[in-house]
């Protein structure tokens, strides 16, 4: 540890975060949600839309929800329907959509549930995901896997084909990771749009077909440049596990997946989000996908200096919940951001303190460092320098994933050369200061060391308070990002259903087993 932080305080934080996560898990284990059940359908091979353009997983789950069937898990009914009719799950879904079949007739009440009827479909999906993990491993061993901090840039044209062009251009300029920003309101859609899309606002819809198109584009540029280019998309919103499943099936490499982001920033109900993030992250874990958490967002509404401890507290909570979904440390990309007011004297030192502290406390996490956005003014030249300072902090403190700032932040979604200039900036700083971090030591009792100690102390006090009050109640106090949310407020609560004793989710069952998660209070920690 470079900052000589107090180990017992760190342990105390982890212990608190662990109890906080366990409290959440008690809720999570008792419920399922509409999107979790739609995910089961998707993984059973149900895809496509009905005559009105509504995704079949929605049609089937909505029907089942109205009939009060979700408590048993949609798989219970699909398995029985498959066993009785000999149809495939997709055909069952189609028949339900045309009202030619009523799932209620196939429930546990109708007799013994024949779960084995869908075991081929379950195996097929899981194998496809495992094959993707193997394919990624092959790529990473045969091609250059990139050097940390990996360079992460965003494309957001709204048109997936245009996105591929821009992504390939960025990859050739040196980008290691491409994220396709979603159309602005997608997180609030309670369904996943279908097919290739060429129109979006502020971004491009996350659809399975768009994932496939971009993956193909990046694979081709990976081979061309000899460097594996990773693909990112966003789980957050009302469809966390469904998008995780799509990402697993189409070999995404990273996915934004924060345990609290949707609650705080999209006003999605917390009971819904906690349940959704659990299954969603389990799928990410199984697919070898690195999650990115969203602590950077706190600092867009709260002050980076005053509220630094909320970032660290959230990192501890995100870590604890991620472990409970089976994610190993190497797949937990905890987030933070370079958002201190540039007018602040010694602001850079506080940024270094925060970044180094995260590195010291989470040594095996692929930390994701986010660029300045709040104090970007439209003065592109000043913005370019801020981004240079951000890159310097990144290389100095051993960050793993550097989301590059754009000089035109606060003006428009990046132009093709904005991305190029950002990559040049990062490559210059990363190369020019490559071993700076190894060569410097922080003066004991100096500004940086004392600042980190203070933030850690504040974090421990905050986590103790949250443990005492419970996370859901604490969120009502506006402890995170200055935003208050209540357990029954927000969108999506109507999609939360208590599990019956006979509840069955074959994927949760299989993945938990393979990830070494037993449904007990002790999560595996690797």
């Amino acid at each position: 540890m470079k900052l000589d932080l107090d180990i017992s305080t760190i342990d105390r934080c982890r212990e608190c975060a662990g109890s906080i996560a366990d409290q959440i898990m008690e809720h999570v284990r008792g419920v399922t949600t509409t999107t979790c059940e739609r995910t089961v359908l998707r993984l059973l091979g149900v895809d496509g839309v009905d005559h009105a353009g509504v995704p079949l997983p929605n049609v089937v789950v909505d029907t089942a929800h109205k009939a009060g069937l979700l408590a048993d898990g949609i798989a219970t009914y699909i398995a029985q329907a498959v066993a009785s009719t000999g149809l495939r799950p997709q055909q069952v879904a189609e028949k339900v959509a045309c009202r030619q079949m009523d799932l209620a007739g196939f429930g546990p009440a109708a007799g013994d549930c024949d779960r084995s009827a869908v075991s081929d479909a379950v195996t097929a999906s899981l194998s496809r995901i495992r094959e993707n993990v193997a394919k990624r491993r092959d790529y990473l061993s045969q091609l250059d896997p990139g050097t940390e901090p990996l360079i992460y840039v965003i494309v957001a044209t709204g048109n997936i084909y245009e996105d591929v062009e821009q992504a390939q251009s960025a990859a050739k300029a040196g980008a290691d990771i491409i994220a396709v920003i979603r159309s602005t309101a997608q997180s609030l859609l309670d369904y996943v749009p279908y097919g290739a899309t060429t129109e979006g606002y502020g971004g491009t819809y996350a659809t399975q077909e768009n994932f496939r198109i971009m993956r193909r584009g990046l694979d081709s540029v990976s081979v061309e440049t000899g460097r594996y280019v990773r693909l990112v998309n966003y789980c957050s919103g009302l469809c966390m596990p469904e998008i995780a499943a799509m990402g697993a099936l189409e070999r995404l490499d990273m996915m934004l997946n924060d345990s609290m982001y949707g609650i705080l920033f999209r006003d999605i109900n917390m009971k819904r989000t906690f349940a959704d993030q659990y299954f969603s992250r389990m799928i990410n874990a199984y697919a070898g996908i690195i999650i990115n958490t969203g602590e950077d967002n706190y600092l867009t509404t709260a002050d980076a200096y005053d509220e630094a401890h909320t970032v660290l507290a959230s990192q501890f909570i995100n870590e604890a919940l991620a472990h409970r979904s089976g994610l190993p440390d190497s797949q937990i990309g905890l987030g933070h951001a370079f958002e201190t007011n540039p007018e602040m004297k010694d602001g850079f030192l506080y940024e270094v303190a925060q970044a180094q502290m995260a590195r010291d406390i989470f040594p095996n996490a692929p930390l994701k460092y986010m660029p300045p956005t709040k104090y970007m003014t439209g003065d592109i030249f000043r913005g370019y320098l801020l981004n240079g300072m951000f890159n310097l902090a990144g290389i100095m403190t051993g960050q793993s994933i550097q989301l590059l700032g754009m000089l035109t932040e606060a003006i428009h979604t990046p132009h093709v050369h904005d991305r190029y200039l950002a990559i040049k900036n990062a490559k210059y700083v990363f190369s020019n200061a490559r071993h700076l971090g190894e060569d410097i030591i922080f003066r004991p009792g100096g500004i940086i060391q004392r600042r980190a100690e203070q933030v850690l102390g504040d974090t421990a006090r905050m986590l103790e308070h949250v443990r005492e009050r419970g996370l859901m109640e604490s969120m009502g106090e506006g402890l995170f990002a200055g935003i208050a949310r209540t357990p029954d407020g927000g969108r999506g609560l109507d999609g939360v259903v208590a599990r019956s004793d006979g509840y069955w989710n074959p994927f949760e069952e299989a993945m938990s087993k393979e990830l070494g998660l037993v449904a007990s209070v002790n999560p595996s920690r690797r």
Binding site: Y201, T301, V416
Partner: protein, 258 residues
């Protein structure tokens, strides 16, 4: 320094009227001598003289990025142009609250939101939230204001309903993400809704955001527009002064209606 001719203002590089301008742009063509020549000719067509392509970079694939300098041949007459701005006397937190207390004698109710699909609340939060921005308190902290921040992605209908419900004196709309001008349609729709409800003239309607100008706001039927760099006190002072102006305007003896 030589006399500046306000009727013929040109860009200033390092001497008066040199007209030097820097441009940065990309063309969807492969890097090479032809690409540079294409950029040069394009900038000449834009009306520049003495064009120098000082830097050209291969962006990979088939894009080339250029930095170009040129001499602008046009000028503007500053003495005859108009730049609409919000008419407001700058005041601080204390003066504004005193003004409302003394001249209005009641709290001003403000309802604010990021409307449509826009999820970026940075701007509205800076103006409204207690914490404020750049060392200034937000409107929530003003004792003579009652501020409601509805947050992100608020449908126009919800905003109007809340404004009626809260008997709002002012409505603040923030639009940050403005790809493909989605904000224009969204902002216009709000005016239509307010008119349909018959309350357009009862409220001060304000737009804010990095790409909002006062001129654009007026054009769309708003009372004022605030662009980047706006502080909470700018907005508060405007609302307070406008409220007082309105009281006078609508008072019977003046008989003036907007």
């Amino acid at each position: 320094m030589p006399q500046v001719d306000l009727k013929n203002i040109r860009p200033y590089g390092d001497s008066l009227d040199d007209g030097r301008v820097q441009l940065g742009f990309s063309l969807p063509i492969r890097y090479g001598p032809e690409a540079k020549e294409a950029a040069r000719q394009l900038v000449i067509k834009m009306g520049f003289e003495s064009v120098d392509v000082v830097s050209a970079h291969d962006l990979g694939g088939h894009f080339t990025y250029f930095v170009v300098y040129g001499k602008c041949t046009h000028s503007v007459d500053v003495t005859s142009l108009r730049a609409p701005r919000v008419q407001v006397e700058q005041m601080d937190f204390f003066k504004i609250n005193d003004l409302v207390r003394d001249k209005l004698g009641r709290k001003i109710t403000v309802v604010a939101a990021c409307t449509g699909s826009d999820a970026h609340t940075v701007g509205i939060d800076a103006i409204i939230n207690m914490k404020g921005y750049a060392g200034e308190y937000g409107l929530e902290r003003y004792p003579w204001f009652r501020a409601h921040n509805l947050g992100a992605q608020v449908p126009n209908e919800t905003l109007v309903a809340k404004a009626i419900d809260a008997d709002a004196d002012a409505i603040l709309v923030s639009q940050v993400v403005t790809q493909k001008n989605v904000h224009i349609a969204n902002m216009t729709r709000l005016v239509d809704l307010l008119e349909a409800e018959g309350i357009r003239d009862d409220v001060i309607l304000i737009a804010g955001g990095p790409r909002i100008t006062h001129e654009l706001a007026l054009e769309l039927g708003y009372d004022a527009g605030f662009g980047p760099g706006t502080l909470p006190s700018h907005v508060a002072a405007y609302i307070a002064q406008e409220m007082i102006r309105k009281e006078h305007r609508t008072s019977p003896e003046l008989g003036e209606e907007r």
